[in-house]
């Protein structure tokens, strides 16, 4: 079963990252690096990407007539935005939650676990064989 595991972060958290010490940054990068390798070596990683800061996001709307409107995004009302995601192929939802829990506990300032909210969503796929 495939799952999309999404890391969301608020503007405050992103601002916070800019106040980390060099050691905090290095520890966080090493954690993510090892985490990705672990998922790959477990044969569970399908695909993962980090996204640019939301300053580079644009929202496009088109009503089918005239020129599409391209505005700065994310949606102004959004308090949180997607900053990175993993697509994993794992045995059951419990394993997906375990992966998400690890992603959530990535180290932040002074190495304290961040506890960022991680969304886990099953990906629709081909019909499942009856167990």
């Amino acid at each position: 079963m495939k799952y999309m595991i999404m890391m969301h972060t608020g503007q405050d958290a992103t601002e916070g990252i800019m106040n980390w010490s060099q050691q905090d940054v290095k520890r966080h990068i090493e954690f993510q690096h090892d985490f990705d390798r672990e998922l790959r070596e477990a044969g569970e990683m399908v695909f993962n990407e980090g996204l640019t800061f939301p300053d580079q996001a644009r929202i496009v709307r088109h009503d089918g007539k005239g020129a599409p409107a391209v505005t700065d995004g994310p949606f102004p009302e959004a308090k949180e935005f997607l900053i990175g995601f993993w697509i994993v192929d794992c045995a059951n939802p419990e394993r997906a939650y375990e992966i998400a829990a690890k992603a959530s506990s990535a180290p932040g300032k002074d190495g304290a676990p961040l506890g960022i909210p991680i969304e886990v969503r099953p990906i629709v796929g081909p019909p499942q064989a009856d167990a």
């Binding site: 800019m18 980390w20 060099q22 905090d24 940054v25 290095k26 990068i29 690096h33 790959r40 300053d55």
Partner: protein, 407 residues
């Protein structure tokens, strides 16, 4: 024969075989698919069955058979009807006379101006580099079907342009050669920039670009810009092992362990760029190679001959004015005359490079040199928010942390 040397042989034969088949049947598009299939068949059979007596003849015969099968196929029937000419049988004399120009013809074709850079890169790697669609797809992290489609669309565009399969002549020669060099440079940069990226096994694009540049240099030894491009690649690639740390973090030039630089590649690059410059037809690749050579020849970062780099960027800016060149010159100027002189030049780039992460990153470093730490942090933050390169983002975050720590 080891698999590795079979692969090398196939890559070497790929453009020759394709040129022969494309010329014989006058259908570049189908010939390119047919040769790809013949290469895959060879990959499959040769390691077990051993090499045929003449690998080249085997590939030509196999590709020709596949091409005729494709022509017979329903999909290609319409195309065959469009093309009312019968296959021309090339004589042995034709083939040997054309041999030298084969790779060049293919390169000119694959870097056709009707193509986007991404398509030209993919087609060049397959038709001239002899890479499989799967290998190219893996290198660019896109699904194989997507890459196959990109290549097939590229060939349709060339077909639609009516480009004949022959070398460009007269006034067209220079711009077409420039396009070839530009595509090889893009392939190299793709490999170079990604080497600090993710931990996936990637086809070595930098090495492939160097191999192709070597081939073009062998065919056109008297073209100083070709020599310059090969030198530029070698001189940058020489630092590859020193550019990234154990966690694939970017290590900037001044902090690299110079003992890990590839001395043989540097010596070759320096010889090539010196030979090119002696021909007195200076060009952008030669100048960039000369800058890389100055960096590579410095025993320590502190011993870098910045006045010479500044002079080289000055010439480059004159012959090829471009804001990124000015940005590099500003760095060299800061190293020679101090950060304020460099910052002044950066101010002229606020228009052309507004919001560009490189401008903010360079300004941040010059502000740090000038002792203005808070302003430096502000600029590095602006760069982090604006970059779309993962290794660069990580590097900038680490730098911000260092400045915050007061290091």
């Amino acid at each position: 024969m080891a698999d590795r040397s079979i692969e090398d042989l196939l890559r070497e034969l790929a453009p020759r075989v394709l040129a022969v088949v494309a010329r014989k049947y006058r259908d570049f598009d189908t010939a390119e698919d047919a040769v790809q299939e013949a290469l895959l068949a060879a990959h499959q059979h040769w390691p077990a069955d051993g090499l045929p007596d003449s690998p080249e003849a085997w590939l030509i015969a196999t590709a020709s058979r596949r091409l005729i099968n494709m022509w017979r196929g329903d999909d290609a029937r319409r195309r065959r009807e469009e093309q009312d000419w019968a296959p021309v049988t090339a004589t042995a004399a034709d083939e040997s006379a054309a041999d030298r120009d084969d790779t060049l013809q293919l390169l000119f074709m694959c870097t056709h101006r009707a193509l986007t850079p991404a398509s030209a890169i993919a087609l060049t790697l397959r038709a001239v580099g002899g890479l499989t669609t799967a290998e190219i797809a893996a290198a660019f992290l896109v699904p194989e079907a997507t890459m196959g489609q990109r290549i097939s669309r590229a060939k349709q565009r060339i077909h639609a342009s009516g480009e004949p399969f022959r070398l460009p002549s007269g006034a067209d020669w220079r711009p077409r050669l420039d396009a070839v060099l530009h595509v090889l440079y893009l392939i190299f940069s793709e490999g170079y920039a990604s080497s600090g990226g993710r931990e996936l096994v990637r086809t070595d694009l930098s090495k492939e670009a160097i191999r192709l540049a070597r081939e073009v240099h062998r065919l056109l030894p008297g073209e100083p810009e070709v020599t310059g491009l090969l030198a530029l690649m070698l001189l940058n690639d020489a630092r590859r092992d020193a550019r990234t740390g154990p966690h694939e973090e970017l290590i900037p030039l001044p902090e690299q362990d110079r003992a890990r630089w590839d001395r043989a590649a540097i010596a070759e690059g320096v010889d090539l760029v010196s030979a090119a410059l002696r021909q007195r037809a200076v060009g952008p690749y030669q100048l960039q190679a000369a800058v890389a050579a100055v960096h590579d020849e410095a025993a320590t970062a502190a011993e870098t001959d910045w006045p010479q780099i500044l002079a080289l960027y000055g010439v480059l800016e004159r012959i090829q004015p471009n804001p990124m060149v000015t940005l590099n010159r500003a760095v060299a100027l800061a190293m020679v005359d101090g950060p304020q002189a460099g910052l002044k030049v950066l101010d002229t780039l606020d228009g052309p490079l507004a919001g560009h992460h490189r401008l903010a990153a360079v300004r941040g470093h010059l502000l740090e040199m000038a002792g203005d730490r808070p302003a430096a942090i502000e600029q590095l933050r602006a760069a982090a928010v604006a970059t779309s390169s993962a290794p660069e983002l990580r590097y900038l975050m680490t730098e911000i942390g260092r400045l915050r720590d007061g290091g």
